[in-house]
Amino acid sequence: MKLLTHNMLTSHVKGVTKATEVKVTDVDFNSEFVSRMIPKIEWSVLVEAADTLGHLNDLPRDLPPDYESSEDFLRKVHHVLLEVEVLEGNLKCPESGREFPITKGVPNMLLNEDEV
């Protein structure tokens, strides 16, 4: 699971990512694509997740206002959003503590019947 995918998840599943296996793969950089993604992102969540995984990549705590013009910044975001993938780990609900396992890169978000 890429951190961009993770960022789109509802808050009740994306708490803390405890990752035991993280993979980094090269993905072609497209500055326009990254710029378009940034407004959809919950920035603080991305930073926290990247930090937990040890891939913060010097991302600032606050999103700089003129990010579109900085290719260097966009490349960093690109790396964190699209090149870092969690293969094994857990997603945890900050409220209930319920954990959702990620195995072989596949998060399993199914709830038990009584949780729906």
Partner: protein
């Protein structure tokens, strides 16, 4: 009789004659012609109406010289070919509206000309694998001794004789409990099997028909007109009778079992094929060699009816002490997914609905994932067109993404797939797509974030209207205002604007609709098809409430909106993704195919749109019919 009344009656007859012509065309694909030919189709004059060959032939011979008379089994029509046009014309003029007594029921014959008799019976039949019929297995004297067992009710070792709805039954060894279709291992009946049966058992063991000594005996006694619904014995034979064997894929084989014969069921015939005796007063049997064990088959010029008498069967079984691990999980009570031992019902509650979907959608996809994926490689063009129309950098979620065939069609989008089946999602992952396992009714994605969503062939798997609506609402929840969603659901109408869908066109078996009528219900009453043409044409028009879901026959029109669609799993291992790999011939075991059933609610025209308009923020941007599916593109209002 006034001339007015005469006129009225002949008009009525002409109308019914027309209707019969339409019915034969629709049900059996037989076109009638208005000019005189040598051949006639006689509606209501079939074996399925209880009209015997002898009876009909007698009548037909009165008009001229009959070259051939074809009577397909269980069908409400027959074909006659005369030596000359004149003879056929004579029959045509005289027989129309003619009444006949058949099995005590009056039938009215309607006759039409046909160009040629082109009745296709599906492929030559053979006995289901593992089935063996041994004729004259029991001597006349021994037969009498055995029958005493049923007559006497004094034997202490038997469970008391019971009268079931459609037969009398007596058990030895263990009592078979019809409430749960099983035996209580902890409650053997005292005394075991009657000593008199030892001869039968010894003979079976000696000839290798049985590997271990049976410890349970069921004696069934049927009066004429009684029968037993098609069933597979929970994963654990004598008088002439026709027993019907059915493969889950719809194949039917009827086997004539002569009096005093032994029927051995092993392997596929035991575990996969269902067997049953249609409740009727007579059987369709060959005219020639009528008392020899054989398949009642395709020689349509050699079939007639045989009146039934009281019949008693002795079934010896070995009670199983451990769960079954056969290779037919789809019909095995020990292995559950998509099983049909207890046919599911149309759900009446939320709990029912959720359970039905769990057993007949989720578990099934999990089992068939590998094979399913190997058949889903080409994306539908109109879906691709939708995805290509979206702007670069759009975030798109595919709800029910299956093997991810749409996740990579437009590289400028960021696509995330989700599916209820873990095995399918893993296939997406192997293809380097982003996907997770989740339920379409609770997608773990933030509100209002997606530029677009697609839901292709998913919502028809929800078994109540409320759940289908909830699924669309969930799509709208994750869509941003101004975003749009494309939804595809399977259409009830597989023929639209006079064109058959690809699904129907790929039908190789060419099963007639009448076959489906017979095969679709589990209920005893509906197994005997309505043998009156006038009735069948009417009751297909309306949609009766059904308690039990019907099983659809693949590649044919849908006969109801809520149904179970068989999936024929190819390959040995259950979720074998190895099925794509080449395999040497000898590796493929013939019995390795299994059938699973998926629940579907097929949508009628306008139903999908109606559902969408129930949601406040939805605007229907376009709706269309595409290859057997109803489709909408809906927008979320700003």
């Amino acid at each position: 009789m006034s001339s007015n009344k005469l006129d009225k009656e002949s008009k009525k007859r002409a109308r019914k004659q027309m209707r019969a012509a339409h019915t034969v065309l629709r049900h059996a694909g037989i076109s009638t012609v208005s000019h005189a030919t040598q051949s006639l189709v006689i509606a209501n004059g079939g074996l399925g109406n209880g009209v015997s060959r002898e009876r009909l032939l007698d009548m037909l011979k009165g008009f001229g010289s009959v070259l051939s008379l074809l009577m397909p089994p269980n069908k409400p029509y027959a074909f006659v070919r005369y030596d000359s046009f004149e003879d056929a014309k004579m029959a045509f003029l005289t027989l129309n509206g003619c009444k006949l007594q058949a099995e005590g029921q009056p039938v009215t014959l309607y006759v039409n000309f046909v160009d040629k008799v082109d009745f296709k019976e599906h492929s030559t039949q053979s006995l289901p694998p593992g089935l063996l019929v041994v004729e004259d297995f029991v001597s006349l004297e021994y037969e009498q001794e055995l029958l005493q067992l049923m007559a006497l009710n004094t034997a202490t070792q038997a469970a008391p004789k019971k009268s079931l709805k459609h037969r009398k039954v007596k058990h030895y060894g263990y009592e078979f409990c019809y409430d749960n279709n099983n035996v209580d291992l902890n409650a053997p009946l005292p005394g075991g099997l009657p000593i008199i049966c030892d001869d039968v058992i010894d003979e079976c063991m000696k000839n290798g028909y049985l590997k271990s000594k049976p410890d349970q005996l069921t004696i069934n006694q049927y009066e004429p007109g009684q029968g037993i619904p098609p069933h597979i014995d929970t994963h654990s034979a004598f008088e002439d009778i026709v027993m019907d064997f059915k493969h889950p894929d719809g194949q039917n084989v009827s086997v004539l079992l002569p009096q005093r014969s032994l029927l051995v069921m092993k392997g596929e015939s035991r575990y996969l094929w269902s067997h049953g005796i249609t409740p009727r007063k007579s059987d369709v049997v060959p005219v020639i060699n009528a008392d020899a064990a054989q398949i009642v088959s395709s020689d349509l010029g050699n079939l007639t009816l045989n009146k039934r008498e009281t019949r008693t069967s002795f079934t010896f079984r070995k009670v199983r002490q451990t769960p079954c691990n056969c290779v037919y999980p789809s019909v095995c009570d020990s292995q559950s997914a998509g099983k049909l031992n207890v046919p599911p019902s149309v759900p009446q509650s939320e709990v029912d609905a959720s359970r039905l979907e769990q057993d007949f959608v989720h578990k099934v996809y999990e089992e068939i994932a590998g094979h399913f994926s190997s058949t889903r490689h080409s994306p539908w063009p109109k879906v691709v067109e939708f995805l290509k129309s979206l702007s670069s950098g759009a975030l798109v979620v595919d709800i029910g993404c299956g093997n991810g065939k749409y996740l990579g069609v437009n590289k400028d989008l960021y696509m995330i797939g989700c599916d209820r089946s873990r095995n399918l999602v893993e296939i997406c992952r192997e293809r380097q797509f982003q996907a997770f396992v989740s339920d379409a009714l609770s997608i773990p994605i933030r509100d209002g974030i997606c530029d677009a969503c697609i839901s292709i062939a998913v919502i028809h798997h929800f078994s109540t209207k409320e759940r289908r609506l909830a699924a669309i609402k969930e799509l709208m929840r994750i869509l941003k205002p101004g975003g749009k969603a494309l939804i595809y659901v399977w259409a009830l109408e597989q023929e639209y604007n006079n064109k058959k869908s690809k699904y129907l066109k790929e039908n190789k078996a060419q099963l007639s609709q009448i076959d489906m009528k017979e095969a679709k219900h589990y209920e005893l009453t509906s197994i005997t098809c309505t043998h009156n043409m006038e009735d069948t044409s009417e009751d297909t028009a309306e949609e009766p409430f059904q308690a039990e879901l019907t099983v659809h026959t693949n590649r044919t029109s849908f006969l109801s909106k809520d149904l179970l669609v068989p999936w024929h799993l190819k390959g040995i291992s259950k979720n074998s993704r190895e099925t794509d790999k080449p395999r040497v011939e000898s590796d493929i075991e013939p019995q390795s195919s299994a059938v699973f059933h998926r629940y579907y609610h097929v949508f009628s025209k306008g139903e999908l749109e109606e559902l969408c308009t129930k949601i406040e923020c939805v605007q229907i941007l376009s709706s269309y019919y595409d290859q057997g599916n109803w489709c909408v593109i809906i927008g979320k209002l700003l």
